[in-house]
Symmetry: none
Amino acid sequence: MRILIIEDNPDIAANLGDYLDEKGHTIDFAGDGITGLHLAVVNEFDAIVLDLALPGMDGLNVCRKLRDEAGKDTPVLMLTARDRLEDKLAGFETGADDYLVKPFALQEVEVRLDALFRRGRRKTSRELRVGDLQYNLSALTVNRAGMDIELNPIGLKLLRCLMESSPNVVSRAELEKEVWGEEMPDSDSLRVHIHSLRSMIDKPFQSKMIQTRHGIGYRLVESDAISA
Amino acid sequence: MRILIIEDNPDIAANLGDYLDEKGHTIDFAGDGITGLHLAVVNEFDAIVLDLALPGMDGLNVCRKLRDEAGKDTPVLMLTARDRLEDKLAGFETGADDYLVKPFALQEVEVRLDALFRRGRRKTSRELRVGDLQYNLSALTVNRAGMDIELNPIGLKLLRCLMESSPNVVSRAELEKEVWGEEMPDSDSLRVHIHSLRSMIDKPFQSKMIQTRHGIGYRLVESDAISA
DNA sequence: GTTGCTCGTAACGAATTTTTAACGTCGGCA
DNA sequence: TGCCGACGTTAAAAATTCGTTACGAGCAAC
């Protein structure tokens, strides 16, 4: 874990730095706000420990500029002697992630930094991709070659099933179960929905990504090259 | 923001719940550890406030089981009277994200919860913005193109949820849970509230930021350009 | 009490999706 | 080649979902 300590008191900085170094982290120091902000913007730290009383530039301003002007979302742990409520609120207001009042235990700093780091490692939005076709699972949107495509609920389910299995064949039975579960419609409406899905996915692009395997099912392939 | 409060003291729970509700959040309660763990596992909360002294199951165990057995990474803010260092370390050890010692200020709880939530969504601001629409989370005010807009509590919650997810689609189930938590109304009043929200957000500006995805949900977009 | 506001409920037409039905086409097989 | 089942296509019916309006209960301020 790479940590930046912005603190003008050399004793505190050295003390904290040594402790975190012992714990296996990599530490960088800044003795004033301007240097600290610069380092924070230029480098990629996993977390920043920020003192509020700083020469050059106040800690609150460092945090605000980091967030608003540099657009960095590096986790920030504020460290200060000010324990009044409004100070804390002001700290969080500027975009801090945690706020610890001096005097503090070194161990507490470390576990709080750990907690920030854990939370920072989060999975991003899931997305399926086959060729130039993209399916954003969290936004429930589909786009192909930069063009957004709005699909029905059933169209989305079918496409998802096909994309997850691509380039393998999916049997009609599987597709039907995916869409309707156990209670399927009386007639064979899957054909109709495949047709309308094709009209959205393939027709505007004059391609044939959705292929039919006669008597077996359907499959989705990147190119429309036909392989027997 | 959907929050679960696990706290056996009814006074504290009600006090905190009322405060957070006023701030535009949706609150669910659990009076003991078992119920709390169950709710936390089954539902998707944005954050959990967890008391450590609980009947049924200790708060530390609740957190541990939530993380290890259920695999949930919902942000957890521990709330307790124990202020010894080893208690704090034990709290973070079980996977807590923050640790606040009683007595605490209600405002501090809120800003800390908000910081946890922001971190989860990689946001660093107390203000939401989509196009020319702005939502100040601190003042609970909305304005568009310089015009202030006064919204109902429900309208605020809906808009907040839509803005946080923008431009992704939010299912009606998600919106309903965001507004009413577990106790939903019998009828489908979401449509009515969407309508009144539109009359405030879109109608005066002759735009269509709030779009309907038939059979899927709603989404908020910057422009009303329709992409096919 | 009165006023004003919010909220839940109900109702109904409009819009969209889904199902059904009908018919033409294609592919494998004797 | 000719048959038959599986598939593609289209149109219309049926079902679902949505937008809108209206009304009354509940509640707080006055």
